[in-house]
């Protein structure tokens, strides 16, 4: 298909043997060498991801804070410049519009980094719910202007430090720096210590004209350490092991963030009313009808997105994500199930195509890095 969107890094993929797929309308690399190898590289060294497909929406103006407090579940007033926050935007019924990071650039200027496939929807939802004047709020979809790279893994800081004079150890978890210059690149990048793999690492935003140079610079700097480009396949297994939600699977318009177990990013006691507050507050206080749990297969088989979960032949939920975990080498999944079946050790049945296979509930996250 020729109408797929491409990031500025597309010409680089081929040099590293990428296989590309249609990912929500984007022509993106699913793997370069092998998902298992790339997963391992990220867990043990560091991997470089092109995540330029992610959407960027900028909210500016004197009423930005007031507006965002009404739109999202987390408490945006807790942000200070150079700090980022994970949050949800919900519908009135508690269903999720999207999950994303908000970066506070400065007073009255916030950057929202949203899921690629949701960018248009999020933008429209923000605009639709914006009752302010133009001089109070501006909302702009600036996705097309940036390349976003992620360097993730235990060697990420070492490698990135070798190409900048800025002391990266100053950037703590969920903090960022707006103007980091990399050697030989004339435009500064925004660098945050954030990621989607369960490893230490950075996400880097730079004007798209400089994206390819930065990509090449990082790979060159990391060559000795074994840094390699990583595709979406490993990105998915990495985030899954670390129990990081994927919109469309753990979260959706039909799944609230409370059901997904992500209550930490919902602040029903903040002063501002926000969309979905009533339902979410009730779910937090009284428990939601469904809850996300981790499962491990007892019988041989792999749980996959959408497979039914049963107890005594009655459907009690479904698998949101599942695979053979490359780190643990176990067949594990996340399942959204009725609240009465969420205790660790509970045995369940997973309908794996024609077969009914036994599984049990286990603790999440499946993987946690040693700090």
């Amino acid at each position: 298909m020729s109408d797929l969107k491409r990031t500025p890094l597309f010409p680089e993929y081929e040099k590293h043997g990428a296989k590309t797929i249609d990912f929500g309308g984007w022509d993106l690399p699913v793997q370069f060498s092998s998902i298992k190898e790339e997963h391992e590289v990220t867990r043990t060294t560091a991997g470089l991801f092109d995540v330029s497909h992610m959407g960027e929406i900028e909210v500016k103006g004197p009423k930005s804070l007031e507006f965002l407090q009404r739109m999202v579940t987390n408490d945006v007033s807790k942000l200070v410049p150079n700090k980022a926050q994970y949050t949800f935007m919900c519908y009135e019924d508690g269903g999720t519009v999207d999950d994303f990071l908000i970066y506070m650039i400065e007073d009255s200027h916030y950057l929202l980094v949203v899921n690629a496939a949701n960018t248009e929807k999020d933008y429209e939802w923000l605009v639709k719910n914006n009752g302010y004047n133009d001089d109070e709020i501006s909302i702009e979809n600036t996705s097309a202007f940036y390349v976003q790279l992620a360097l993730q893994g235990p060697k990420a800081e070492l490698v990135l430090q070798s190409i900048t004079d800025f002391d990266l150890s100053e950037i703590k978890f969920f903090r960022f720096e707006k103007e980091v210059y990399f050697h030989g690149i004339t435009t500064p990048a925004l660098v945050s210590r954030t990621g989607y793999t369960g490893e230490d690492g950075f996400e880097i935003y730079i004007k798209k004209e400089h994206g390819r140079d930065l990509w090449k610079l990082i790979l060159q700097a990391g060559e000795k350490e074994g840094v390699r480009p990583i595709g979406l396949g490993a990105r998915d297994t990495l985030r899954f092991e670390a129990n990081l939600a994927l919109y469309g699977q753990e979260l959706s318009k039909d799944i609230s963030p409370v059901e997904a177990g992500l209550t930490f990013a919902i602040k029903p006691n903040k002063e501002a009313d926000f969309i979905g507050k009533e339902v979410l507050k009730d779910q937090i206080q009284n428990g939601a009808e469904r809850k996300l749990v981790g499962i491990e297969m007892i019988d041989k088989g792999i749980p996959r997105h959408g497979y039914e979960v049963l107890v005594e032949d009655r459907s009690i939920g479904f698998i949101t994500s599942g695979t053979q975990s490359p780190t643990l080498n176990k067949n594990i999944g996340l399942a959204l199930v009725e609240k009465d079946y969420t205790e660790e050790g509970t045995e369940l049945t997973v309908q794996v195509r024609k077969r009914k296979l036994k599984a049990k509930i286990i603790k999440t996250p499946f993987y946690k890095r040693v700090k």
Binding site: Q31, S34, G233, D236, I302, T323, Q324, P326, R353
Partner: protein, 127 residues
């Protein structure tokens, strides 16, 4: 791309090797490369009948599940049990260590519809 000349191929990317009155079946080098790391192989049991173009098992990569479609009808007389513990054989050795089943064909005419290595190569280039 490794496509041995002495094998026959199906459009569903299985290879078939004639052995006297039986055939040995597996998936092609092209198929394993497309699928990526194979982590699970599900095969029928000895004695089961498989039917042309119908699924007889599945292979799972880290990312997805793919059905295996029978290139020929017949009765399963042997199954490669080693693939249960070593699914990676499918990637490492698709034509040798990762043979999947041996079948006694019930209709030898079906063999005529399988592709030669040259024809199969053409087929995957067009696809």
């Amino acid at each position: 791309m490794n496509l041995p000349k002495d094998l026959l191929y199906s459009e569903e990317h299985e290879w078939v090797k004639k052995e006297d009155n039986k055939v040995r079946i597996g998936i092609t080098d092209f198929a394993q490369d497309e699928l990526g790391d194979i982590v699970f192989v599900e095969l029928p049991e000895v004695g089961e009948e498989i039917e042309l173009d119908e699924p007889f098992g599945s292979v799972e990569s880290v990312k997805t599940v793919s059905e295996l479609y029978a290139p020929i009808s017949g009765k399963v007389v042997e199954v490669n049990e080693e693939l249960e513990d070593s699914p990676e054989f499918v990637n490492e050795s698709p034509y040798e260590k990762a043979w999947m089943i041996v079948v006694e064909p019930s209709n030898n005419d079906e063999m005529d519809d399988l592709l030669s290595s040259d024809k199969y190569e053409e087929f995957i280039k067009e696809d």
